[in-house]
């Protein structure tokens, strides 16, 4: 009891209360902690969808037969393609693809029906707008698969291949895209919000120059810093819970792993972003520089993390570089803990790396902060 009441008389306790009161009185910080994360999570969670569907299709059907119409309808069957225009001249179809009015065009030759009935090979021309190389590749894959299936329909001999693939999707059998993207977006949200809120809190004290006054009180530099970090940490952990709740309720993410472990690992990452925010605040002289510098750090961190583009596809150098990206490790942890949920062994290394990052960033920024105090 005496120890507790003594604790309430330490400078640390007063500093902590002060920080909390300041944060509570600042509507701006509360707003930053709640509104942007929620919006980002909702918008990105719904918007990020790599599925390529409803690709616009222009049709030039010289055959005008039952068979050709069957082929076209097999294109549109699963909403993968959507017929936007029927042309009667090759020129107008080409123009439509060229100006981007349709992304794909299919030209069915006059002798299509005849060749099929005679069991001869016939060629169907497919034009794909490859400005978006990735979509084009995927569309090409679809075209080939659709043609393959069409062949199976018209030719029974093909319907029983010798190798029968049985594909099982583990962890996310429905291939729901938000299950993949939402954990990545969570990482993005924590990075942006965390570094923003902590740099704002630190630079505010620098701006007002109240630090000088603090230094003349009996509080030690450690107490000042610990009192700054503690409420930030608590609030950002609140954001972790907020984001997790949205992920669970809105996106129905399965959260298969042990929740306690997940929160513990998230807390490591929160320390990383606090360290990052403090570092930004200590190395910049003006607000202008804080804003620009935060981009300097945040853009590569987000890009190399695998939240938006797969790490496996990056050139080898960038894959190596991404190992230095703390967000990559957090996302690996989040995806594992939320979607897979097997033991924590596979991501233990990621967690250790986060701890190392947190200690380095906090160590450097605390040191810089302290030397600025003196």
């Amino acid at each position: 009891m005496i120890l507790i009441s003594r604790f309430f008389e330490t400078p640390f306790w007063s500093l902590l209360i002060k920080e909390i009161q300041q944060i509570l009185s600042s509507k701006q910080i509360i707003f930053l902690l709640i509104f942007p994360p929620t919006m980002q999570l909702l918008i990105l969670g719904f918007a990020l969808n790599p599925n390529v569907t409803e690709i616009s299709l222009g049709v030039l059907d010289y055959s005008q037969s039952k068979q050709s119409r069957e082929l076209v309808s097999s294109f549109t069957k699963n909403q993968i393609f959507q017929v936007k225009a029927y042309s009667i001249k090759e020129k107008s179809l080409v123009k439509k693809v060229r100006t981007g009015q349709v992304k794909t065009g299919i030209i069915i030759p006059t002798d299509f029906r005849k060749k099929i009935l005679e069991n001869q090979t016939t060629n169907v021309q497919v034009l794909i707008d490859a400005v978006d190389a990735n979509t084009a590749q995927i569309a090409k894959g679809y075209v080939q698969q659709i043609i393959r299936n069409y062949n199976k329909e018209i030719n029974v001999a093909l319907s029983q291949p010798l190798i029968n693939l049985k594909v099982n999707f583990l962890y996310n059998p429905g291939l729901i895209s938000s299950w993949f993207f939402v954990p990545g977006v969570m990482g993005l949200v924590f990075t942006l919000t965390g570094s923003l809120v902590s740099s704002v809190t630190i630079i505010r004290e620098k701006d007002f120059g109240t630090l000088e006054q603090l230094l003349m009180t009996p509080a030690s530099a450690w107490e000042i810093l610990a009192a700054k970090i503690t409420p930030l940490f608590i609030l950002l952990m609140g954001d972790v819970l907020l984001a997790s709740t949205i992920a669970w309720l809105v996106f129905n993410l399965p959260f298969r792993g042990n929740l306690a472990w997940f929160l513990l690992f998230s807390s490591f990452y929160i320390f990383v972003v606090i360290g990052l925010g403090m570092l930004l605040a200590t190395i910049s002289k003006t607000k202008q520089q804080v804003v620009l510098l935060s981009f300097f750090f945040n853009v590569p961190i987000i890009q190399l993390s695998g939240a938006v583009a797969p790490i496996e596809s990056m050139p080898p150098f960038f894959q190596l570089l991404s190992l230095l990206d703390p967000m990559r490790h957090f996302i690996a942890i989040a995806r594992h803990m939320i979607v897979k949920g097997s033991s924590i062994e596979p991501i233990l290394l990621n967690a250790i790396i986060l701890v190392i990052f947190a200690s380095i960033l906090l160590g450097v920024s605390i040191n810089r902060f302290r030397s600025q105090l003196n």
Binding site: F8, E9, T10, P11, W13, S14, L15, I17, K18, Q21, Q22, S25, S26, F208, G209, T210, E212, Q213, L214, L215, M216, T217, P218, A219, S220, N374
Partner: protein, 653 residues
């Protein structure tokens, strides 16, 4: 002999009264409301051509709002404002406006700042450049054209801001507290500039919270709570008081003040006011002889020996205080609730011996010796860049010295330990309280962080609130308080843990005169109880409150002693000259004497002579040659500011 321009010649023929014949600026029934708050409440005044008109009042009196409206950057709620016969917005090109401290772009150079101001006012390049050069020459910035504004000292910044305002040759100049944070030497130079600008026919309206500056205006209006309390020339206002000021010097100032205040409140005397300073007590009384007798009598009753009693004019501060007293009562003096009792011992609280500090090749502090005892109020004064800030930082343990010895609260080592810091109080001019916390939250925070035992906290906080008159408002956000109020709360916050040593860095900026008196009374009370106090200030009228003071110039203490000692040790004499044209007289005298010796105060010229007996005929002769008529001249005592400027200038040479 200086040639006088035609405007100047015209002006020579005018006296103060003739300012009204050509009103440049007319304000009638001006009011401004922010929501429920009345910032200004029906003020009226008129300013004539070439006049320097001062708006004098504390923070939050409505000065800045008035300026915003005069400059056409804010709309009035009601009332009429005419500048040059038109609405301010229609004549903005004729108005130069200097805001408190934000007139310049700090990341632009001197030349770029001026050019920007000229160009947005549509001045042709070939027209403003020569004029700008002449202005920069005049203020001594011509050699620093490429220096960034942020690298200039406070005084130079304000001179540059003035140049920016003057480059478009405005007819009206609005200056909102132009000298805040500027040291006395630069302030005097700045005011000299203003006087010469006014002499060229520019109408100037200026604001200042400091009454020694008010002396330099032609006319002043005392503004308080959005209303003009009094208006007139400084001497008119002083005369209107109809009182004499008796300066009593004695050994025990505190005791004398207590006795005389007691006698006054009992109605046993004719005194109107009793106020103590560092080494004297001022008594205001209608009749000086009766007053003297009464002082002697009461001191004798309490066996206090009076050394001398001098008779003097009342100061503008006396005018202001008595004017304020009609609208507001004195803030209460409540003794601080003490829980530790300390004996007043003649021990050294702060000691510095050959203290030095260098930054690279630059020697900021060059071997200073200083001793401040418990119970003593010591003032550290100096121009910007004299090394004051470095000195304070070393003395309070924030900055380790490069060389020399120090003692602080009896310790010589590890001066920044938290144990020592808990025995020290520190308050700086701006950075003390958190604007985004309420008053109560701030006070609780400082109680906690200084480790005031929980059971004593409410008592201390109550004391601060009562002293500041903020009871019932403790949940207001601190940022919403006017600067002066904030300063008082900050002072309270820095003494709640009963420090043995108190550092006050410009504690009273923006505090109104009544508040300032209370402030100093509290400071003296702490000193009485044995606290050692180190104060800095740019305002020398206030430095009179110190027991001892040191003047710093270029890293050295060049003079040290009590206020009376310092003034008495000042060589030479100060003469006040009244002539038919102050500016012309000053210009003429500056040709013969160093320019710091000549200063214009309203319609009078102050001149410092080393040997008045010998030099006076020479002065008369020169003025006569310049066909300037001397109405009167008299020897006046040096103010602390005069002494300061003399000391600084002499040690520079």
């Amino acid at each position: 002999m200086p040639k006088l321009s035609s405007t100047q010649n015209q002006l020579i023929k005018k006296n103060t009264a003739s300012f009204f014949s050509s009103p440049i600026l007319q304000v009638e029934g001006l009011s401004k409301q922010y929501g429920n708050v009345t910032a200004i409440n029906g003020i009226n005044f008129t300013v004539g051509q070439g006049e320097i008109f001062g708006l004098i009042g504390p923070d939050g009196a409505g000065k800045t709002t008035t300026f915003h409206i005069l400059a056409g950057v804010m709309e009035a709620t009601s009332g009429r404002v005419e500048v040059l016969g038109k609405l301010p917005q229609q004549v903005q090109l004729q108005i130069g406006y200097l805001t408190q401290k934000f007139s310049l772009y700090s990341d632009l150079s001197v030349a770029e700042n001026i050019a920007y101001n000229a160009r947005v006012r549509r001045l042709p390049e070939n027209q403003f450049q020569p004029h700008a050069q002449a202005l920069l020459q005049q203020v001594g910035l011509a050699d620093f054209q490429n220096r960034l504004a942020e690298q200039l000292s406070g005084g130079m910044k304000q001179k540059l801001a003035l140049c920016c305002a003057l480059v478009s040759q405005p007819k009206v100049l609005l200056l909102d507290e132009p000298t805040t944070g500027v040291d006395p030497v630069s302030r005097r130079e700045f005011w000299d500039l203003l006087a010469s600008v006014a002499a060229q026919g520019v109408t100037i309206v200026t604001a200042t919270p400091y009454l020694d500056e008010a002396e330099r205006c032609h006319r002043i209006a005392l503004i308080y709570k959005g209303e003009i309390q009094q208006m007139g020339t400084p001497s008119q206002l002083r005369d209107s008081l109809g009182l004499a000021r008796l300066e009593l010097r004695c050994d025990d100032v505190f005791q004398a003040e207590t006795v005389l205040t007691e006698a006054m409140s009992q109605g046993e005397t004719t005194f109107c006011d009793v106020q103590s300073f560092g080494d004297r007590v001022d008594v205001l009384t209608p009749d000086q002889e009766i007053g003297k007798q009464q002082i002697h009598q009461h001191l004798k009753n309490h066996s206090i020996a009076a050394e001398t009693i001098d008779v003097n004019d009342p100061t503008l501060e006396n005018v202001f205080v008595s004017s304020l007293r009609t609208s507001q009562s004195d803030p209460p003096f409540i003794p601080f609730p003490r829980d530790r009792y300390r004996k007043t011992e003649a021990e050294i609280a702060i000691g510095a011996y050959n203290l030095q500090k260098s930054f690279g090749n630059f020697q900021a502090v060059k071997g200073i010796d200083l001793e401040i005892k418990y119970g003593e109020i010591y003032g550290l004064l100096g121009a910007n860049g004299a090394g004051k800030t470095t000195m304070i930082k070393m003395l309070c343990g924030l900055l380790p010295p490069s060389d020399g010895e120090m003692t602080l609260a009896g310790k010589t080592e590890n001066l920044h330990s938290s144990q020592i810091r808990s025995r020290i109080g520190y308050m700086s001019q701006k950075f003390t309280l958190y604007d985004d916390l309420t008053i109560l939250q701030n006070l609780r925070f400082y109680c906690g962080v200084y480790g005031v035992p929980s059971k004593l906290r409410s008592k201390k906080i109550e004391w601060v609130l009562k002293t500041c008159g903020l009871e019932g408002k403790e949940n207001t956000l601190t940022g919403k308080l006017p600067g002066g109020w904030k300063q008082r709360v900050a002072f309270g916050a820095s003494v709640m843990h009963e420090p043995e040593i108190l550092f006050l860095d410009e504690p009273t900026s923006g505090v109104d005169p009544l508040g300032r008196r209370q402030f100093w009374r509290l400071i003296r009370d702490f000193a009485q109880q044995g606290t050692a106090i180190l104060v800095t200030t740019h305002y020398l009228e206030e430095a009179e409150n110190c027991n001892r003071m040191g003047f710093m110039v270029a890293g050295e203490v060049v003079a040290q002693g009590s206020p009376t000692q310092i003034k008495a040790e000042q060589p030479g004499q100060l003469i006040e000259l009244k002539t038919n044209h102050a500016q012309a007289a000053a210009n003429c005298l500056k040709e013969a004497f160093a320019s710091w010796r000549v200063a214009i105060f309203g319609d009078a010229v102050h001149l410092v002579l080393d040997n008045a007996e010998q030099q006076w005929p020479q002065v008369e002769q020169r003025l006569e040659q310049a066909s300037i008529e001397i109405y009167s001249h008299r020897w006046i005592p040096f103010s602390l500011e005069d002494a300061f400027i003399g000391i600084v200038q002499r040690s520079k040479n």
